[in-house]
Every structure is written in C-alpha cells, then in structure tokens.
C-alpha cells in the first residue's frame, strides 16, 4: 500500500492573501495527500509547532507580503529547533528570482512562482518523498 504524504500548508506573517495556499491545499488533497492548513496570520514558531504536532513530511509556505526573506528562514529555524529539520520544505508566492535562488540554497527544496501548474507542485513533492523513503528503506 502506498504511504500517504502528510503536508502542512502554512501562512506565515500578517499577510491575508490565502487564495494560492488554499487552492494548493485542495489540489494536493485531490492528489491523495493528507493536507493540514495552518490558517492565517501564524508566527514561524506556531507553524513549526503545528508541523511537529501533526508529524508532517512536508511544509509548504505561501507568502505575498514581501517578507519571505525574514519569515521563511525563521520557519526553517523553528522546525530545526523542534527536531523537524528533516521535513521537505517548499514555498511559493510573489518572490523575486534572486530571492528564490538564495532560499533554495538555504534549505528550501523548491520555490514555486505565479503561473505554476499545481500538478507540477504535487509531482515534485511526490518524487522527493519517494526518493527519501527509498533512501530510508535502503538505510534500514
């Protein structure tokens, strides 16, 4: 039986734009994943806490406020502080190209920009998780 991927879709900061986050959450659910949505206006610590409580495999962050360079790395640190540094970390929103490159060097597996096909997001997550699980099985 195929293992279900558990995803937290998180909205860090004060930004209320949640159309993208909720659309992606619905689509990932249609792709057979278990999806938890954080709700709005969450601090990085609150998002990491939900990730820990729900024991997710993936955290996907969405932001349109321009504060990604402050808030995205803080979510990563809060996850590490809770022993959740292993989760697959992805994100999306209004993020200039240079910042995407810096975030992808700094622990984010991938940033998805406007116009991304949602199947591409689902496929990326599934492939990455299957690679990880294959590695886990090989390590055992």
């Amino acid at each position: 039986m195929q293992r279900k991927i558990r995803v937290l879709v998180g909205k860090p900061g004060l930004d209320g734009h949640d159309r993208g986050a909720k659309t992606v959450a619905s689509v990932l659910r249609d792709h057979g994943m278990e999806v938890i949505y954080s709700g709005l206006h969450k601090t990085p610590a609150a998002i990491a806490e939900i990730a820990l409580q729900e024991d997710v495999d993936v955290v996907g962050l969405s932001i349109l406020s321009g504060a990604h360079m402050e808030l995205f790395p803080r979510v990563r640190e809060e996850l590490r502080a809770r022993g959740m540094g292993h989760v697959l970390l992805v994100g999306g929103g209004i993020i200039p190209g240079d910042d995407i490159a810096r975030l992808e060097e700094g622990g984010f597996a991938k940033l998805f920009g406007p116009g991304t096909h949602t199947d591409e997001i689902a496929r990326f997550i599934r492939e990455e998780m299957e690679k990880r699980w294959a590695k886990e099985r090989a390590d055992v």
């Binding site: 004060l14 909720k22 689509v27 709005l40 190209g97 116009g115």
Partner: protein
C-alpha cells in the same frame, strides 16, 4: 443560403432566423468552451428577445433612477473619472515622494496602500511586524507618520483614499488630526476610507476584532463624519478583494451589494436616518478580463443598488440610490511570464471600467506579480488611463453599450444571479452568521479552485502561461522594485523617539478614555481623534480594542 430569397415573396425575419440556425448547425466550431470567464454559458448570438429588458423600467437616463446608464447626467463630458493610483511602500517619507511624483504626472487623487502591520493594527516596532514593515505598503503608526506622509500636500485640495479596514477608524483619526495640524477645516477634507470589514472576514483577511464590535465602529464613523467630515466617504464597499480571492463576477456583485445592505441596516439600527449616511457610501469593484461581462456587472450593480435603496430601505434622496464606485484592474490576471503583456491586459480591463461608467480607476502595473511596481511601470499604467481618456474618443457618450442585445442580456443575467444570492444569504440567517459559518469563504474558494482547474485543463487560456509560452527559465527581463531595509529601522527609531518625547500621562489618559468608550458606549472615532492628538500609536489603540473586544477566530473551511 435559403432559396426563398428568390421570387415574389419577401424574406421574413423568421426565414432569416431559420437560415441562420441552419448555417450554425453546419458550421465547424473551434474546440473551446464558449463561456464567460466566470463560467456562464454564452449563446452564439443575442437578439432583442434575450435581454428581458423593459427600457423605461430598467434603463432610464444617466443620472436618473435606476442609474443603469450612469450616476451623472453628463457622465464623462462633465468630468473624467479620477485617475487614482494606489501607492505605498517603505517609510512615510518615501511614499510622500511617490505621491508627489504621481501628482506631478497628472494624477488627480491619492490612494494609500498600507503595509501588513498597519493593516493588522500593529506598530512598526511590534515583534509580529518584523520583516514586514514597509514591504507591501507604507507603515503609518502615528499622527507623526501621517504628517510625514502628507507633508507638502494640501489636504483641502487633494482627495485621498485609504485602503484600510480593521483599524480604519484609527487611521481616519490620524488623517483628521493631520488635517487639523495643517490648519484645514475637517469640513473641507475629501476622501474615502475603505472601512469595509465584512469583506475582510470573507476574502481579504485583515481584521482586528470580531464582526459585532467592528460593525459598531463603522456606525460610529458614519455618525461622526455625517456631522463633522461631511465630504468623506465613510465606507468603500469592496468587491475587489472578493473577486481577487477567486469569486465569479456574479459572486463579486452579489456579496458586495449584500454587504452594502448590511451596513445600511446597521446604520438604521444605530438610529441614523438612511439619507443622512447612505449618500456617503461608495463601492469598489474589480475589472477582470471578460470585457462584456465586466461592463454588464457595473451596470447591474447600479441598478440593483438603486432598487434596494429606494424600494427596500425607503431612501428618498437620489444620492442614496446611486452606486458610485472605484475600479481597479484585476491583479490576478497579471502573469509573471512575459510581464510586458500585462500592459495590454490592463488596458482592456481599464477600458471595460470606463465603458461601465466608473467614478475612479486604478490601473495595475506590469511588474506586480514580481514585486511592488517601479516608477516606470506605474507611469505606463497611468498613461494607459490617459490614453483612454484623451486619445480613443470613448468618453464622449454615456453608457455606450446600452441597447446591445448581448450586454443587456448579461446585465439581466448578473442581476438575477446576484438576487438569488441575496435570498440564499437571507435564508442562512444573514451576513454575520454566513461569515461565521464560512459560507462566503467556501463559495469563493470553490470558484477559485474551478478557475484554476479550467486554466490547467486548458479550457481557459492565458497567453504565456498555458499557450504561446516562451522558455521562461531565464527569469523576468524587467527591473524590480526593492524595499530598502532601512525603512523598518526608520519606522522603529521614529516610534522610539515619539514614545520618549510625548506627554505619556496625556497619552495614557486618552487610551483609558478609549477603553471606557468601548465598555460604556460613546463614539469611538471621537476618542481615536483625541488619542491621535495625544500621540497614542496605532498599536496602542488597537491593543485596547483587542483586549476589550477580543479577536476574530477564522472559521475552518479546509
């Protein structure tokens, strides 16, 4: 073609219709969905029988009930729409410079975009604001910041629109206090505060306190302004954010006007005469890519509002019947791919707004899917409006598409769909219960997901995204506007200085007075103006409200 055109018998209309139907049955059609952007089915042709129109009852004349043809008799022959570009970033000082730039280039009104901390009632030095100060708008945390924002701009001449909702009455208090400090009589101050909290819970999500106390503050604003700031538009009832969150055109129209009627009910329940506050209500709509559907939406909005106000609320002042509105082109229609194409999309949308009879207009800049706009991009957006006004001769005739079988049929369809939502919301207990149960939020989310699927299946096309793509690996070739990180430091040091220099006992006294008014009643806007003069900050005043009224808990819809 039909052979009946030969010989003695004249061609009848029935013959022509039959011939056309036969031709349509044989025609080979393109393999696409013939629907509006919102998914409504379209006929290949519209005729007089499709509009359901009684011209006398449903159209009338511009400036007359039911205002389908526009709110002014002379429309743009009298005065063009106000070209009002929404702007704000970084510190109050930086935004003040952008405002002066826009006024120098022919803009005729100001429109302030605040950053997320301000929208959520947080000062720039609040720990929750870190990284967000000045990012998506300007940070205004005090009367001092408002004075910097408006420095050198005559507040009795320029009209200002402020997009803020949860803490709207506090920012309005800063503005009124700022005008007083410029020596301007509040009776001469003109502008609009968005102050539309209902759509915040439904779509935009920048709230401060739960619906009931928020609605009380709104009626306080209506009452205060009716008497003391009579030229101020006390609410801009906004469909824009509902549409941008994913709704259809009909949902945008319906939910906006439903919210409008809720504010009217609340004003009346607070003891105000409907004609004392209704003329100061204004609206704000999106102009999306479906050219005719959008024009029809604007026309339907005016007709529905006029009938509701006259026939249901008994308003007798014609100004209470008028749905005056601002329009912004659709941010969601912009693409990160081939961003220069956004100039053209925006031009189509702006033209629809003008043909729909808007009172003011914001045109988006081509680079807004990448960052806040650069000066160059903003200038092109403003020039787009100026071309519509000056070059293409469309502003000479009121409601030019009236009588188009198609546009009239769309107007009637949207009106009917909107009225069905009025009934549905009523059946579900009204606006606030529908917010608390997540009804609006679920409706909007459902439409957003359907739209996304239509794009991904390719049944709705977006140039550069799902057709006519170019290899976009290289990233955008255009310049990006970056926010100076010094803005946040500037905001924090300004606040530290303010707290050090002000009379802290006077400030505390005013905060206590706000608390008393929360508990005992009394006009809160009046208290906020006094608190603004005493240099209380936005965050301090908002904190009192959060303590007294609690916070809104978002219903779970996913």
């Amino acid at each position: 073609m039909s052979t009946s055109t030969q010989g003695a018998r004249a061609v009848t209309a029935a013959d022509s219709a039959a011939a056309w139907r036969a031709a349509m049955e044989q025609a080979k059609l393109r393999d696409v969905e013939f629907t509006t952007l919102s998914g409504a089915e379209l006929q290949p042709l519209y005729g007089p029988e499709d509009s359901g129109l009684d011209p006398e009852r449903d159209l009338g004349y511009p400036g007359q009930f039911p205002f389908t043809r526009g709110v002014h008799a002379s429309m743009y022959r009298g005065r063009l729409w106000t070209m009002r570009q929404f702007a704000g970033f970084g510190s109050a000082r930086e935004t003040n410079e952008r405002f002066k730039f826009l006024l120098d280039h022919g803009q005729t009104g100001l429109s302030v975009a605040f950053d997320f901390p301000t929208l959520m009632g947080r000062d720039g030095d609040d720990p929750l604001a870190k990284g967000e100060v000045g990012q998506a708008g300007v940070a205004v945390s005090s009367l001092r910041d408002m004075q910097t924002l408006m420095a050198g701009i005559p507040m009795d001449e320029v009209s200002t629109s402020m997009t803020i909702n949860g803490p709207a009455p506090i920012l309005l208090a800063f503005y009124i206090a700022c005008a007083a400090s410029q020596g301007v009589d509040p009776k001469l101050v003109r502008g609009t505060v968005q102050n539309d909290i209902l759509k915040e819970y439904q779509a935009q999500h920048a709230w401060l306190v739960p619906p009931e106390p928020a609605l009380r503050m709104i009626t306080d604003v209506m009452a205060y302004c009716a008497e003391r700031v009579p030229q101020w538009n006390t609410i801009s009832i906004s469909g824009y954010h509902i549409r941008e969150a994913g709704s259809t055109a009909a949902q945008e129209l319906a939910f906006t006007l439903i919210n409008g009627t809720e504010y009217v009910r609340r004003g009346i329940a607070a003891g105000l005469a409907v004609d004392a506050f209704a003329p100061r209500l204004s609206f704000f709509f999106d102009s999306h890519l479906d050219f005719f559907e959008e024009i029809a939406k604007f026309r339907a909005a005016r007709r529905i509002w006029a009938r509701k106000m006259r026939d249901e609320f008994g308003a007798t002042d014609p100004r209470s019947w008028m749905c005056r509105f601002h329009t912004q082109t659709a941010g969601v229609s912009l693409t990160a791919q081939q961003p220069e194409n956004n100039i053209v999309r925006t031009a189509f949308e702006a033209l629809a707004a003008v043909l729909g009879g808007t009172q003011s207009l914001h045109t988006n800049s081509m680079d807004e899917t990448l960052s806040l706009p650069t000066e160059k991009a903003v200038k092109i957006a403003l020039r787009t409006q100026q071309m519509i006004a000056e070059e293409i001769e469309v502003a000479h005739v009121a409601d030019p598409l009236a009588g188009s079988y198609f546009v009239e049929a769309q107007t009637t369809r949207l009106e009917r769909e909107a009225l069905r939502y009025f009934e549905e919301v009523e059946k579900r207990g009204g606006v606030v219960p529908c917010i608390e149960s997540g009804y609006f939020q679920r409706e909007i989310h459902g439409s957003a997901v359907r739209y996304q699927r239509a794009i991904e299946r390719g049944t709705k096309k977006i140039v550069g995204v799902n057709c006519y793509r170019e290899d976009d690996g290289a990233g955008p070739p255009i310049e990006i506007h970056r926010i100076d990180p010094k803005s946040e430091k500037e905001a924090c040091s300004g606040l530290a200085e303010l707290r050090r220099k002000r009379d802290s006992r006077a400030a505390q006294r005013e905060l206590d007075a706000v608390r008393d008014a929360c508990r005992a009643g009394g006009n809160l806007l009046e208290r906020f103006v006094a608190a603004a003069h005493a240099d209380c900050t936005l965050g301090e005043i908002a904190e009192v409200l959060r303590q007294e009224f609690g916070e809104f808990k978002e219903p779970r819809i996913l």
